[in-house]
Amino acid sequence: MAGMTLTEKVLAKAANRDAVGPNDNIWVNVDVLMTHDVCGPGTIGVFKKHFGANANVWDREKVVIIPDHYIFTKDAMANRNVDVLRDFVKEQDLPYYYDVGTENYKGVCHIALPEEGHTRPGEILLGTDSHTCTAGAFGEFATGIGNTDAGFVMGTGKLWLKVPPTMRFVFHGKLPPYLMAKDLILSVIGEIGVDGATYRAMEFDGDGVFALNIEERMTLCNMAIEAGGKNGCIAPDQVTLDYVNSRGKKSGNKPYTVMKSDGDAKYIYEKVFDLSKMEPVVAKPHSPDNKALVSSVRGTKLDRAYIGSCTGGKMTDFRAAAAILQGAEVRIPTFIVPATTEVARGLKTEKIGTHTLEEIFLNAGASIGDASCAACLGGPSDTFGRLNTPISCISTTNRNFPGRMGHKEAQVFLASPMTVAASALTGVITDPRDNVA
């Protein structure tokens, strides 16, 4: 039997088959279905319409609902949508719901999922959000779906999927101190384009990847969708298992299966990167593949800096930003949004020197918002950090499409937390090598 990639193995297991290959259409059993406040109400509507007003979800243990998008807003419709989730959770008696306004509130679903023990190697995770691919960092198959698919899964626990061929991105060498996973994935997307991985899996491999911590691995997988990828994934190692095992008790210590690509697995594309030769990059407006070396756009004037989201709002991201902002003052309004409440607590407890990260940010003149998706995708007009006017912003988020962060004519540059922090101090695009030895 020919070798299989990690993605193929996980899909084969979920389809109860010995083997699958690229372009096979299969029905898979789903391990976790995740939805949130933007797509949950529509998903619940589809579920009730097709399975009946009194239907039960296929497995209460496998449905996870995480309100995160439009939380701290006066928008009545947005708040109504959270009520829809709340009512459904009560009616179905779902154990994994992280309600707004309670101590159980978490924030951005893609970061809350692993924190709360819902990401496990070898599983199928489907979510009504394109960045569900983030969880591929745990050696599982994770991808975004729409409301109709999610409504179908909610009632049946199954979905048809087409097995994607796998692209392999290998990183060798030691990560220089001025580079982050965000630079690596923006470089990949710049290389292959926003449609370069359409209908394909993106596997990240090599000693450079396995030297990254779990949060940085999540950043790599998170932006697979920005190249059109169906999923991103990284084989589990001890780093993965240590994280997963430390979180498992929050979700019932479910068993999982560790899988890796076979040595003779077939890849449709392979690209090797030498980390020592890579440079900090940005994606210029208005596309994540509009790559430029920071050194080539240095000095571009900015109006705002934004550090947050599933892509750039984790502890590793804030640690890197704080190291640069420590003892300095920002020149442009700078918005800090922790992805989750756990990260927000981390900002209050973790220190560099004698100051907490929170103190470093506040002393530098930055504003800190509550954990949520916030301005990454614009949202209601009162959203923290939203670009309500056509200004220029450098951001650690994942998309710079026209209008994505609010105003249709706003200019958004995507960059690593280090590059964003360095630029916040000068008000122009700044190379983090100027700040990081």
Binding site: D129, G146, T156, Y199, S381
Partner: protein, 200 residues
């Protein structure tokens, strides 16, 4: 034009011939352009809110890209909820970005019955097929330089052809392939009933 907001009344079978005016867009039209995030607070399962998606469809497409080749064309003219255009013609990677099903819903609510482009972003394609909002067709060559906004088109899904009545051109379209049975059934639920996975 399909009644907006009540998909239960629509025909179970796919329309084989789709006729109407073209609205032409460029490459990489993402779902934030198709329906900006601020309108995602409407719940598409509620008919009165469903029609709002038609009103705001394509509202974040940069003005210069709206209705090629000229650009700066209005997608809605007399009716603010429904567009006079029936078919979107676009370049490559239509529907990239966010998984929001509100994107094909917005186009369908505005009266769009089919999109013709070089290829689709995966989630938009799935949502269009599984939710049966519109027919996503792939062309064999790039057509956005050969079709102008307002041209009268006919898509023949049985013979896989696209005719531009304004310029008198006809092109072959790609076969719908493996998703044809789902499109013909009227979405994933109807398909699952047909093949016995779900009770009718």
């Amino acid at each position: 034009m399909r009644a907006s907001g009540n998909r239960t009344e629509k025909d179970e079978k796919m329309e084989k011939i789709i006729k109407g005016k073209a609205f032409v867009l460029g490459d990489n039209v993402d779902t934030d352009q198709i329906i900006p995030a601020q309108y995602l607070t409407y719940n598409p399962s509620i008919p009165a809110e469903y029609k709002m998606f038609g009103k705001f469809a394509l509202s974040s497409v940069p003005p210069g890209q709206m209705g090629l080749p000229k650009g700066h064309q209005a997608f809605h003219t007399d009716d603010e909820f429904v567009s006079p255009f029936t078919i979107i013609v676009a370049g490559k990677n239509f529907g990239c970005g966010s998984s929001r099903e509100h994107a094909p819903i917005a186009l369908a609510a505005a009266g769009i019955k089919a999109v013709v482009c070089e290829f689709y972003a995966r989630i938009f394609y799935r949502n269009s097929v599984n939710g049966s909002y519109l027919v996503p067709v792939e062309c064999q060559t790039r057509l956005i330089n050969d079709i102008a906004t307002g041209d009268e088109l006919t898509i023949d899904l049985e013979n896989h052809t696209l005719t531009n009545h304004t310029t008198k051109d006809t092109w072959k379209l790609q076969d719908l392939g493996e998703v044809a049975p789902i499109i013909e059934a009227g979405g994933i639920f109807e398909y699952a009933k047909k093949v016995g996975m779900l009770k009718s």
